[in-house]
């Protein structure tokens, strides 16, 4: 297996001068599933934002899919984002039906309508939401909204999926459901990195996990 994500000596200080990430070293193999745990404000979200090229690194090195993020031009960063499915915590979907959300993303990426609908249906099948494809997002339950978010993130078949707090605000049963959805996505040769406050659902028990403590990665 080759490396999908390689983080070395990564340090990040927030606007308040607090060192959120301190000399972080991390690697994720291709087609691996990694769970990053840590308490609230441990820096998990910032780490995922950095990996997703949504935030500019301050120091250290981040390699994603063989590209050094710290040296990417704006244009190349946009190109890399197409290979990364990123679902931030609380990401608001459009107030449309589930299918329309996915179709919008794919059409904006250049797909024709038929192609976009076809790929959307495949993604919805992967997350088990085919039965609710025509339901408006505001009418979905929390767990189905998370499924819809995951479907939106994977509909363009990214190589790397980064998910921030997918289990927050969910009951034990729903956490297991989302855990098994993530495992299913991982099983389809997608590298998955999940950040969560824990506990890790049984469906994701096979995943490697690391913790972020005081800005450092603890294995």
């Amino acid at each position: 297996m080759s490396v999908m994500v390689q983080v070395s000596e990564l340090t990040y200080t927030n606007d308040d001068g607090i060192r959120v990430l301190d000399d972080v070293h991390l690697h994720v193999e291709r087609e691996e599933m990694l769970v990053i745990t840590g308490h609230a404000a441990a820096g998990k979200s910032i780490l995922l934002e950095l990996l997703a090229t949504q935030r500019a690194p301050q120091s250290g090195q981040i390699l994603v899919h063989g590209r050094n993020i710290t040296r990417l031009t704006r244009r190349k960063a946009v190109g890399l984002r197409r290979r990364i499915g990123y679902l931030p915590h609380g990401f608001p979907l459009l107030e449309r039906t589930v299918l329309e959300n996915l179709v919008f993303k794919l059409r904006a990426l250049g797909d024709f309508r038929e192609q976009a609908e076809e790929r959307s249906l495949i993604a919805l099948e992967d997350v088990g939401l085919t039965a609710k494809l025509n339901v408006p997002v505001p009418e979905l339950s929390s767990v189905d909204r998370m499924r819809a978010g995951l479907a939106t993130s994977i509909c363009n078949e990214p190589l790397l999926l980064l998910v921030d707090e997918p289990l927050a605000d969910l009951g034990p049963e729903d956490r297991e459901t989302i855990g098994s959805v993530l495992s299913r996505i991982h099983a389809k040769s997608t590298t998955v990195v999940v950040a969560t406050r824990g506990p890790i659902p049984a469906a994701m028990a096979g995943a490697r996990s690391v913790s972020l403590v005081d800005g450092k990665v603890v294995t």
């Binding site: 949504q54 190109g79 890399l80 984002r81 931030p88 107030e95 993303k105 904006a108």
Partner: protein, 279 residues
Amino acid sequence: MSTFLYVFRELLGSIKPRGAMLLLLTGVLIFAALGAFSAFFLFQTPAALGSSPLTGEEFVAYLDPQLTTLQIEALYAALRADPSVARIDYLLPQELGRRDASGALLVQPVEGAAEAVFAQLDSSGAVFRVDRPTASGGIPGALSPSARTGLLVGLLVGIAVCLIVARFGLKDLLQAFDGQLRMMHLAGVDEAAYSVPVLVAGISCGLIASAAFIAVLYAFHLAAVSNPTSVITLAPGLRSAGCVRRIAALGGAIGVGLGLLVGGLGVGLVFRRGQKPGS
């Protein structure tokens, strides 16, 4: 449908009434700015427009009410046969809206022959009044210097207000389109795919305002030409096709330029949103 058209349609589809009203107001302000701009040229003497006095300019000769139909026809035929007259039209008293004349002749002399034709008409005894432009700028409708200054200040203030209103309108539009923008940003959609439609939306404001301005300008021009004695002729430039053409071209370009400025403002707002962490 291309990505651009798809995103453009989505952008227009997400616009809320308030944003639509503000962008409409932006178009109206651009239209008003173009109107103020055109006044500089329309209310000028032909000399200031770059042509020599009288040359190629029409004037209206009001015919004596005592003239018989035969005398009018003879005068009309004589002037029509005159090589120094480029064009001549007869206007009925009803068209003039006045009873103290047997109608009027709308005469356009050839280059350099204006003075001779005017003198000929004056000495014919058949004409009791001639409305003609003069080199001294003494024609009705010429702007005074203070009016010109006021117009210039009004124009600049109008443009500034237009850009402020446009900014509010664009912010409203982008607020309504925020979900789509975030999704496209996260998905790695090419920045041009969502910034160009915003730019085009801004240009459209200027383009529509320019088109409306040109249509109104030509409507006034046609009215001025077909009825030279109407109030519209207080703006002498309206009777000159060349002048109107120049104003239309220049006004159209300025309108599109202002639209481009509005669009650029929108693109700036899009990028500012994109640079916010987590957005």
